[in-house]
Symmetry: C3
Subunit: 158 residues, 3 copies
């Protein structure tokens, strides 16, 4: 087991099975020294952990705290997508960019706190190499009614 | 005519005229071995094919099926934008990344099916090189009230 | 003072202090010959210039004209983020990509005009090298209730 997977193990996590794309594309691909992942949803074993909109009232509402945990799951799925392309996660030299989309009520403005769930996991997994540039935005809706979607770009070595 | 344009011709399609940007930017540019396109709208001959929000009620509503066809037009315009930079589309070695934005009602969660319209066209045009990483998100509104916007990154050779 | 900063000075602008990230990430980073910035908000001296949604009615409404000025401030902060990584802005060989997010009412469709505030500033600062590919989208909400968020990718030389 490499260092990155060992760090995840110490957090009680393991790299999950790859999430099958819900469309005509692949979970990730390598181009030169970059790996681009597809947008990752908070799926475990093929099912979304939760659906709805962050900050909305009523049954469809998802709390910011729950959404942060979902962003962490998105990031774990992004790590799995990267692993599917490069095999050994210790080949990641830098997490370059993270874009986090939060399906939310227009009045919800805590997107950074939600996406910190992804950023913090990437920091824990990759150490200094896990510190990245990032955008967080609040959107109207996400695939399958997911509350969060995260895509990443990482740099890799051979 | 190159292979890519021949494949499009067999689908009854041709690479359209370039869509003029609606702002202070260019349709696409090359940096190293990557070509980045601007976000492409479902325009034909300078006019949007349709306006509105996917899944909304009333006059502004656009069906998911119509939106999928619009995403295909966005992808065709993205191909035109790439061609404007590299000339010969057979120089595309890989479609690297697609981001698809769907202007929709917050209750609409079928973004992947809509953006498949773009992904499937790219697969048909570029074959194995057309299989990409992708994100699909649902947004509040798009330029000129377009229901769909698609941007792509492709890798190219000289 | 380099050429880029001199051009900004002639517009009555200077590269501002770096805006501290509101999450677990960095304002920008370099990977190979590209610098990726995080999403930049219209902050000056640590505070948002304005909050709300573009085109919305009532107290939360922000005009398209005000939003265009905010997009310009976002771009100036993006330039500061790039400078924090490469030191001398004259090392920028090309602004490659701009993505502009506009927090807006679903009925607002003037995102290109808003994001022109960023594109025009980049053109003024970098000249021919400032002409970029771009996507502009309208979203439900942005961090801290910012009306606009802009991220950029630039190419740099040593």
């Amino acid at each position: 087991m490499g260092e990155v997977e060992e760090r995840l193990r110490q957090l009680g996590l393991e790299v999950p099975d790859l999430v099958a794309p819900v469309g005509s594309y692949v979970p990730a691909l390598r181009q030169g020294d970059l790996v681009f992942t597809s947008g990752q949803l908070p799926m475990v074993s093929g099912a979304l952990l939760q659906t709805g909109k962050v900050g909305a009232a009523g049954d469809i509402g998802v709390s910011a705290e729950d959404a942060k945990a979902l962003a962490r799951t998105c990031a774990l799925n992004a790590i799995a997508a990267v692993k599917s392309v490069i095999g050994d996660l210790d080949k990641v030299t830098r997490v370059v960019k993270v874009v986090g989309f939060v399906a939310c009520d227009p009045a919800f403005t805590g997107q950074p706190g939600v996406i910190n769930g992804a950023s913090e996991l990437l920091g824990a997994a990759f150490g200094d190499a896990g510190v990245h540039a990032r955008s967080a935005v609040g959107v109207a809706a996400l695939p399958l009614d997911a509350p969060v979607e995260v895509e990443i770009i990482v740099a890799v070595r051979d």
